[in-house]
């Protein structure tokens, strides 16, 4: 699965300067990504989103990113110029953000936003871009694509906005897609349909997918491998199918505290955290 490494990250750290002193959001994360589906799971504040953003140099201004190694397809991302980064972002590594309401331009028709993404990265004609955008809307299972094309972001529902975002990110056919909670605003059935779409991109085009999520069961059923994060650190990396055999007490705690349809319990076990999990392995 990992014969062709798309991404290699070693000892990634993201630190934010704040009025209360530095906050270490990501503390020494290492992983690699092949043409596969890698899930990053963790609770809020675990550093999973910051890991994704750091790859594209999208950390907030007060953040400092450092890594021993951060390589994408032979390109060193730690030293890449802004110019190189602009050529990578969107075209080769794309990112789907969690909330379409903040990520879409409110005064541009959604179809035109998708077409723009295509034109910028391919230099295609306006007409060709419009056709491709229309096709893409159909690919993300939007009914009446012709009608939706001319809507503004405030006129579409959250689920539809999210599919528009996904269309926009997939239209340049990136090598790597970082999806930060791409489906958590969607209904379960739509969520599964969107995942099937991402699945197709991995299977048919050999795209590498990083799926960032708080939903353990979802990730376990969808991904090839799962990386569990807590407090900016990687607790363990597992084969997704074996998530339920996880050894780390944090992963076990997360799994146990979920209510389940199959295993009813009167009271849910509450997760107890161990300060030792945050200590750096020497």
């Amino acid at each position: 699965m990992t014969e062709a490494r798309l991404l290699e990250v070693e000892d990634l750290r993201v630190t934010f300067r704040t009025p209360h002193g530095p906050v270490e959001a990501v503390r020494g994360v290492s992983f690699s990504l092949g043409r596969e589906r890698l899930g990053i799971v963790g609770e809020s504040g675990s550093g999973k989103s910051q890991t994704g953003r750091a790859l594209l140099r999208l950390s907030a201004r007060n953040g400092r990113v450092s890594a021993k190694k951060m390589v994408f397809d032979g390109i060193d991302l730690t030293n890449a110029s802004e110019r190189t980064m602009r050529r990578i972002r969107g075209a080769r590594i794309s990112m789907i953000m969690q909330d379409p309401r903040y990520s879409l331009n409110p005064v541009v028709k959604v179809g035109d936003q998708i077409a723009e993404a295509y034109r910028i990265h391919t230099g295609a004609s306006a007409r060709k871009a419009r056709d491709r955008a229309m096709e893409m809307l159909e690919t993300v299972r939007i009914r009446e694509a012709g009608k939706v094309y001319d809507l503004y972001p405030h006129q579409v529902s959250g689920g539809m906005g999210q599919r528009v975002m996904i269309a926009m990110m997939l239209i340049p056919e990136p090598d790597v897609l970082i999806a930060d909670e791409p489906t958590s605003a969607l209904d379960v059935t739509v969520q599964m349909q969107v995942l099937a779409l991402l699945d197709d991109m991995v299977r048919e085009r050999g795209m590498g997918l990083v799926l960032i999520s708080h939903d353990l069961n979802l990730v376990a059923s969808f991904c090839d491998r799962v990386m569990v994060m807590y407090g900016g650190r990687v607790m363990e990396v597992l084969e997704a199918g074996r998530l339920h055999e996880a050894q780390h007490p944090y992963t076990r705690g997360l799994l146990n505290c979920l209510p389940s349809l199959e295993h009813p319990q009167h009271m849910l076990p509450v997760l107890t955290r161990d300060a030792g999990w945050l200590e750096e392995a020497r």
Binding site: E43, S44, S157, G158, G159, D187, V188, T189, V190, Q191, M192, Q193, L195, A196, D199, H214, L216, N217, L218, A220, S221, F222, G253, L254, C257, L258, P259, S260, L261, E262, P264, Q265, H266, M267, L268, P269, V270, L271
Partner: protein, 258 residues
Amino acid sequence: MIEVENLTVEFGRGAATVRAVRGVSFTVAQGESYGLVGESGSGKSTVLRAIARINPEFGGTIRVNGTPLTSKRSRDEARRMQMVFQDPYGALHPRHTVDAILREPLEIHRVGDKDRRIKAALSDVGLGPEFRFRYPHQISGGQRQRIAVARALILEPEILLLDEPTSALDVSVQAEVLNLLKRLQRERGLTYLMVSHNLAVVAHICERVAVMNRGRVVEELTASTLRGGEPAEAYTRQLVSATEGYDREAVRGYVTYE
């Protein structure tokens, strides 16, 4: 305790009318937990908001303790029926301390012995007295939701309307809040009407569940039938399948139910 008969809720007029709830009926016994599940737009929250009269216009009848509800809610009804909202940040006044948030219902309902009640309400939801003079932004999401539960319970209501009370929380915090809701219900014999899109959460708290789609109840079933995986309706079976995780083959077969 709660009887809902042929409830309808419409928004807008003329051709733009949206029929959010279309003839929903169910009853909830005293001390029971009843769940409404469905996807967005199914009308589940609208049912709850009609009962709370946040949407005062509705058709059909809603009876609580045998008394039909009118579009204006009386003070006495408000005391007996309280609501907990989804977003614990939006539901708490950002410039009020926890003390002021918990004091307000006592003042509105002219209940005495306020200080003792506020301290007791905090300890009931597992928070120490040190939280009393903090602001919502100074406490975590789970603690905020505990404050929202404390505020709902401070008037000693009989019924709690719960609108996605844990969907904004991390799973470990969700477990704590769900345990809290279970414990409080057992201790006080509360009646719960809970809305959620999460089947596992609803099955955990509720004995009976109504599955809604497009403003209608598709089927009513017990939590154990839901767990057993043999609901009568295809819509419910699809919902259960999607909840259980990603299955490439199953997804191909998904259909949209109108």
